[in-house]
Symmetry: C2
Subunit: 214 residues, 2 copies
């Protein structure tokens, strides 16, 4: 156990950022990546199905192709915005695909666990949710290791499925850029750039029924 | 900051359990619950939308009504199983709704953030994913506070929506039983009871393309 593994949970949650511009250009160490993926693999899952997989992508060709695809999606989104929002969006960086040097694509396999899945018969989405819980474990572990994570969602799912030969019915649910950083921002990018600020927690807490905030 | 807030992230991930039978019957302290919900509220979210809400349920009538509903769903699932799986399922406890004393229902509001959501234009599910990430933060914070969490998914979504007056288009995505525990199990219940065991991490890691495990 190295020292930075002792970072407290609350400190990790507080300092976690979605990293775009701060990747140093070095590659994450294999042993560190293994610890981060081990943390992801210890997530809770419905019926203990562990329906996640992790595709580690480092080929410059694949990273480059995905980066170009994402750039196109970025332009399409920018074009869809009214002009004031477009001005706010323009300087916001949305990916660090090539500079991070490592992409981890998290996938969800709805067939994992067979026909009778304890807890998914009523809420089918709990399968998908399980893979998302793994991502949060991964992200917090990365913070503890001083490694940045940036979740890229500007992509067409069919494109990514094809790019990585992901077989049906497995579904890619996230592209995570993972790598050493020069620094962690203290304020989330979307707050710094004026896109959207924090909601007060008191607005999010309700008592007994939705809407009762007293 | 109290001492147990210093629990390391890796320790929290390792010792996190899905609690059913070990709730002590005491109620979680309000200040502790506030810290746990603060951790949830610091989750990442697509476009910084923070689309989650938390309905704290302690009314014995509501807890009792939901527990009866869940019991019916449990029976329906048991009846759907082949006999060998039914025998394995029988002793597995699936909820601690009344014994935990507190339910936290996490909801997802797809309308939060308006029309132009940075990062959700391409993958709409990232909104839903954001609320799930908040649940993992909540769960790990609870472990750090020695508080148990049990995620109940044996319910009909329309029933729960109605029970808590959740307005359209907001969607309940989890009922979490939250309370002090007598102990944390070392082995997940579904492993202890022989329902399903852990998958090896090496099976979950692929290189460059899905399916390449060398």
């Amino acid at each position: 156990m190295i020292d930075n593994q002792k970072m407290s949970l609350y400190a990790a949650i507080e300092s976690r950022r979605d990293v775009r511009a701060e990747f140093s250009g070095e590659c994450v160490d294999d042993a560190v990546l293994q610890r981060i993926l081990t943390a992801a693999h210890h997530a809770p899952s419905v019926g203990n199905t562990q329906p996640w997989d992790f595709v580690v992508v480092r080929s410059p060709e694949t990273l480059g192709a995905f980066a170009r695809h994402v750039e196109q999606q970025r332009e399409a989104f920018a074009d869809s915005l009214p002009s004031d929002r477009k001005d706010t969006f323009d300087p916001i960086r949305i990916e660090g695909i090539e500079t991070s040097g490592t992409g981890v694509v998290v996938t969800y396999d709805p067939a994992r666990g067979g026909e009778h899945i304890l807890g998914r018969a009523t809420v089918d989405d709990t399968g998908l949710f399980s893979a998302v819980l793994a991502i949060e474990n991964l992200w917090l572990a990365a913070v503890t290791e001083s490694i940045g994570v940036g979740w890229v969602s500007f992509y067409d799912e069919a494109y990514l499925t094809d790019l990585l030969d992901i077989p049906w019915p497995v579904r890619p649910i996230a592209w995570l850029c993972i790598g050493p950083v020069t620094e962690f921002q203290r304020t989330p990018d979307l707050e710094r750039f004026g896109w959207r600020s924090r909601r007060d927690l008191s607005e999010a807490i309700h008592h007994e029924k939705f809407g009762r905030r007293d």
